[in-house]
Symmetry: C2
Subunit: 237 residues, 2 copies
């Protein structure tokens, strides 16, 4: 109740996105004593599919993947999350997927009922959900319609901020169009995200290397030698 009032006072107008107004209210809400902030090691499990969904989470620092398993062990990573993404949000009573850190992470933990009663949370959450929704749409295209090459290329491009989108400014006029990426994922995790096998991911990466499109600095550290060329391999253009 107290949070609810505070949320109202600070937030007031609730938006579907495009504003940064609700965030101040959310930040204030996050400072309340009932909101905890936890540290996780890499590859810690935050929650399992089927666990009672009593908390919601906000990733402050690091990376988290959400995945689902089929009874025979096949795995699909459904989302890869970065700072400011929220997860564990659900309309049902149990989590619909597993959440595991990819890197050491700092995660804010909020009691579900607290958030439900807080308007500032609503607005903040909706904005997060909408962005994630778009990412899921894009990922459905990748999984349903792209070749292995296009999947891996799209995956690499996703780490290059500001490029590969519809409003891509193109390479800066001066110098080379390079970019170094820290994957923070094993080949298996990449494969399970892209709907491929580990061997196929490995083969495509080797081939990109052979063709000079990328250089492997360290197994999970890849240099894209020409971002613009890589972008043309994604199928999205």
């Amino acid at each position: 109740m107290a949070y609810s009032d505070r949320g109202l006072a600070a937030g007031g107008s609730a938006r579907l996105g495009g504003n940064t107004h609700g965030d101040e209210a959310w930040a204030e809400f996050a400072r309340s004593p009932r909101v905890k902030t936890n540290r996780y090691e890499a590859h810690d499990v935050v929650f399992f599919e089927g666990d009672p969904a009593e908390r919601i989470y906000e990733l402050i620092e690091g990376a988290v993947m959400l995945y689902k398993l089929l009874p025979d062990g096949r795995r699909q990573v459904v989302e890869i999350l970065g700072p400011n993404d929220m997860f564990g949000l659900l309309s049902s009573r149990q989590y619909d997927c597993n959440a595991e850190t990819l890197t050491p992470a700092v995660i804010r933990v909020v009691d579900r009922r607290d958030a439900e009663q807080t308007l500032a949370a609503q607005s903040h959450i909706t904005r997060c959900l909408l962005a994630q929704m778009e990412a899921l749409h894009e990922h459905a295209v990748l999984l349903g319609r792209k070749s292995a090459y296009e999947r891996v290329s799209s995956f690499l491009m996703r780490f290059v901020a500001g490029r590969g989108t519809a409003d891509c400014p193109g390479p800066t006029a001066a110098g080379r169009d390079e970019h170094v990426i820290a994957l923070n994922m094993t080949r298996q995790e990449i494969a399970d995200y892209l709907g491929l096998t580990i061997e196929t991911v490995s083969r495509v990466i080797s081939d990109l290397k052979r063709r000079g499109l990328i250089a492997i600095e360290k197994q999970d550290r890849i240099r894209i030698t020409n971002v613009c060329t890589m972008c043309h391999q994604t199928g999205t253009q």
Copy 2:
């Protein structure tokens, strides 16, 4: 502003799902004169990807599909929506996909800014988003990890209300375990939803028929002769 106040008075507590409280407020909001209700024919386009996202939509009756296109014409249907689902919700300024009716439909149209300023809308919208999110996760598993047989079987099971979920009650003790489905989709639309080709969809359906699992009453009207058996073909068990 007026809507905002009304939403507050009627709604009060905002929830992340599981309640039906915000819905009354939403229903009242929907009755306001600025909210229009439109009728569409089958295969009408509601909006195109890239159109300025100035309105949000609530499907009252009928079915709608959302799809994305790659520059070379490949298509992926990312969501199939039914009554009470909302669409056109976005954090960015333009729609991220195309929306097209599958059947004649009744659709409520709300100005985006009106909804953004209405708390009742927030709560209602969040609930819809969460449910759609879960559906998208499930669909990612289908697209990334299921065989053609499993995809088509999963697709058919999705039309059997209350079965195939984790808490499936199983067949009713008495009599046969049949169910008749109206697809309302062409083979091409099904293929584009399942990430397959039209030929593969057709072959799988023919094969299910040959094996006696389904009977085709009319091209887009299929009888599942044994729901429980069909369910075991989905890979989800």
